[in-house]
């Protein structure tokens, strides 16, 4: 599904990723952990296609060279990024935003646009499945949302867009235990043999609820260790310092 070979990125001549290799197969869930400033968010941004980075190395998604594909085309092809800091867009109704988004993804897939009734039904189904209050959808997009509401909204969008590869950029940061469970539920209920996940996190806590197939440790722009979920538990005890 996703193949990253010797990925190097820099921004304003400052090297961030320094030769990263990672392969994610369909159905797999990979967790990436690492200290602040190790390049975790950069990886998420580069995968989503954010501009402003200088990139070398290979980036392939479902057999296509991602480097030649724009942000929106990547999204349409099934890459979803749950933002660490979801953006507020005043005056834009959340429901309306989500519907516009879903329809552009559907259009790209060659599917018919969804009508309002079918959309509302889908939203109802997903919100009740996750235990999210439907009311947030009638508010302006992320405006005045609490930190937890913003993150839940990201996961709801993920559920509705149903992407092939979901990247969660520190979605668990700053969440209370109930919100954390909702996030985990969103991920776990989406897992299937052809959906893949890349979960970026600081803490092992989330991984109590989401069982990763692989855990990678990112340090100074490179993956320095790869293991199973036990690696996360070990890190929780010893910290990152012992890794290098």
């Amino acid at each position: 599904m996703l193949e990253i070979k010797n990925l190097k990125t820099s921004i304003n001549n400052k090297a961030i990723l320094k030769g990263l290799n990672l392969t994610i197969k369909p159905g797999e869930l990979h967790a990436i952990m690492g200290p602040n400033g190790s390049g975790k968010s950069t990886l998420a941004n580069v995968l989503s296609g954010k501009t402003g980075y200088e990139i070398s190395g290979e980036l392939n998604f479902e057999g296509k060279n991602l480097k030649e594909i724009s942000v929106e085309k990547r999204a349409q092809k099934g890459i979803f990024l749950a933002f660490q800091y979801p953006l507020e867009i005043p005056g834009v109704n959340t429901n309306n935003f989500l519907k516009t988004s879903l329809n552009s993804v559907r259009k790209a897939r060659g599917e018919k646009e969804i009508d309002t009734l079918a959309f509302l039904k889908l939203v109802k189904e997903k919100t009740s499945e996750l235990g999210i209050d439907e009311k947030i959808l009638s508010r302006q997009l992320n405006v005045g949302f609490s930190g937890g509401e913003k993150k839940k909204n990201e996961i709801l969008q993920m559920k509705i867009l149903n992407p092939d590869l979901s990247i969660l950029d520190e979605t668990d940061s700053g969440l209370d235990i109930d919100a954390l469970k909702i996030i985990a539920k969103g991920v776990n209920s989406s897992r299937s043999k052809n959906k893949s996940f890349l979960v970026i996190t600081h803490y092992q806590r989330l991984l109590d609820y989401i069982k990763p197939d692989f855990v990678h440790v990112l340090s100074d722009g490179k993956i320095v260790r790869t293991g199973c979920s036990e690696l996360a538990e070990e890190l929780e005890k010893t910290g990152y310092q012992t890794i290098n």
């Binding site: 349409q76 834009v92 302006q140």
Partner: protein
């Protein structure tokens, strides 16, 4: 169509020219031309006198020059002041008699007059260059005693109303362009809503400039008698021409006791090309008088067209407890310039006004909000709230806010809020990541920015206006 034309027509889809034979007044501005206009409209003598009075005044005054957008000197002797399709000379009595070419033109503009007559919802007066070519739904409105007709017809059929109210809000001595309009105005709409009547449908006028080297000087007069209500909408388009064309309209509103007028404008005159060549000079005077107690006038404008927009739809709040509102979206792209805002003149007690202005600049455009809140000595407990938000796209455009506040009454409350922001790259990235392309993302963010104003538009036009907002900014982000 040649590639070039095709490209142009995508940028401004109303830019076509209707090939139609027209009757014109001789070029130039003089007493003869004014007599010609008055004569061709079969006006009574008092109307001609009124026009000549304005013309004599005009000779002694100069164009105002305090506005921000500067424009090359206009040669008033090099313009036509009257142009009408030949076929409209003998006023058609109903739609079946209207020249098919004209009906076709309005159809192309998205106003199918013939179909519209059969659909319930909006009554339309269609003004083509200097004449009104058709008014729909007349019978239904007449039943309620509502008068909705071209102003040239009102001058003949309802002289008592016209005499009483014309020029009562915008005096013929007001300023250069208002005076010019008073001397040479050609057509426009007239509305009278009788006492206690709630107009059952939206009234709408659609203005179209077609002829070249022609100024359009329309005049609209709306009177809402005691306890009545009307919602009125105007739309405007013009062909793409390399020359600048002058449009100097006057709009007067009068609301008597407990009456309410809601006036919405979707202005989409030709803005000129990418390099700023051509386009309409939209120099318009719009003013409403809340003459009666508890009356209300609400202006909503979506200004996306014209090379230069220069207008301040205002409210004179004479009646006690009267309310004035101004909701505005002004979008300028490429080399467009806008200097627009409102004047809220508080004269009565407990008068209230609200101003919500959203200015968006892209390309090399320049956008100014200019407003006056004037609270007189007698206006006890007057209240004003003003909010001006500007959104910038790119590094070459400008946004300016020039609010004037004159307050002579210490019991009043005046509030002013203003923000200026740039369209946020992170917001765009967020939208892109959800599969929206750049144009869709910009449209979404800008529509969100304008939402408070768009909500004020009548339902039928809100969707259209939303689309227009997106189209006007097409190509403004790289």
């Amino acid at each position: 169509m040649k590639q070039e034309e095709l490209k142009k027509s995508k940028e401004y889809k109303y830019g076509f020219i209707t090939d139609i034979e027209s009757v014109k007044a001789p070029k130039g501005l003089n007493e003869e031309v004014i007599r010609f206009i008055s004569n061709i409209k079969k006006e009574p003598n008092w109307m001609l006198e009124w026009r000549l009075k304005a013309y004599n005044r005009l000779k002694n005054i100069k164009e105002p020059n305090w506005q921000k957008p500067k424009y090359p000197k206009i040669n008033y002797q090099d313009l036509y002041y009257y142009s009408a399709p030949k076929s409209a000379q003998d006023k058609p009595k109903n739609l079946d008699e209207v020249d098919p070419k004209l009906l076709e033109t309005y159809k192309k503009l998205g106003i199918p007059l013939k179909e519209q007559e059969k659909l319930v919802g909006v009554a339309v007066d269609a003004v083509f260059d200097s004449v009104s070519v058709a008014t729909t739904f007349k019978d239904k409105l007449t039943e309620k005693g509502i008068i909705f007709c071209p102003i040239s017809e009102a001058i003949q059929k309802h002289p008592e109303l016209v005499k009483k109210y014309l020029g009562s809000v915008i005096p013929i001595t007001d300023h250069y362009f208002a005076t010019l309009n008073s001397a040479v105005f050609t057509d426009g709409s007239f509305v009278y809503i009788p006492e206690g009547v709630r107009c059952p449908m939206e009234l709408s006028t659609y203005f179209r400039i077609n002829a070249s080297e022609t100024g359009q000087f329309e005049r609209t007069l709306i009177i809402a008698d005691k306890g009545s209500y009307v919602s009125y909408l105007e739309g405007c388009t013009a062909p793409m021409r390399d020359e600048n064309q002058l449009h100097a309209a006057n709009v007067e509103l009068i609301a008597l006791d407990d009456a309410e007028i809601k006036y919405s404008t979707v202005q989409n005159w030709y803005p000129g090309d990418k390099d700023g060549k051509g386009g309409i000079y939209n120099f318009v005077t719009k003013r409403g008088a809340c003459r009666g107690k508890n009356s209300k006038i609400s202006w909503t404008q979506v200004e996306t067209g014209s090379a230069i927009t220069w207008k301040y739809p205002s409210c004179i709040l004479q009646g006690d407890n009267s309310v004035g509102e101004f909701y505005s979206i002004a979008i300028t792209n490429n080399h467009q310039k806008a200097d627009t805002g409102t004047k809220m003149i508080h004269l009565g007690k407990n008068t209230k006004s609200k101003i919500i202005s959203k200015g968006i600049s892209a390309g090399y455009a320049d956008n100014t909000y200019r407003g006056l809140v004037d609270i007189s000595k007698k206006a006890s407990n007057a209240r004003n709230y003003t909010q001006c938000d500007s959104l910038l796209m790119g590094n070459e455009c400008g946004a300016h806010t020039v609010p004037y506040i004159k307050n002579k009454n210490s019991s009043s409350i005046v509030e002013h809020e203003a923000t200026t922001s740039k369209i946020n790259e992170e917001q765009l990235y967020y939208c892109n990541q959800r599969g929206l392309n750049q144009e869709e993302a910009v449209g979404l963010i800008v529509n969100g920015f304008c939402k408070e104003v768009l909500q004020q538009l009548p339902m039928e036009f809100a969707v259209e206006a939303q689309k227009l907002v997106g189209i006007s900014l097409e190509g403004s982000v790289g």
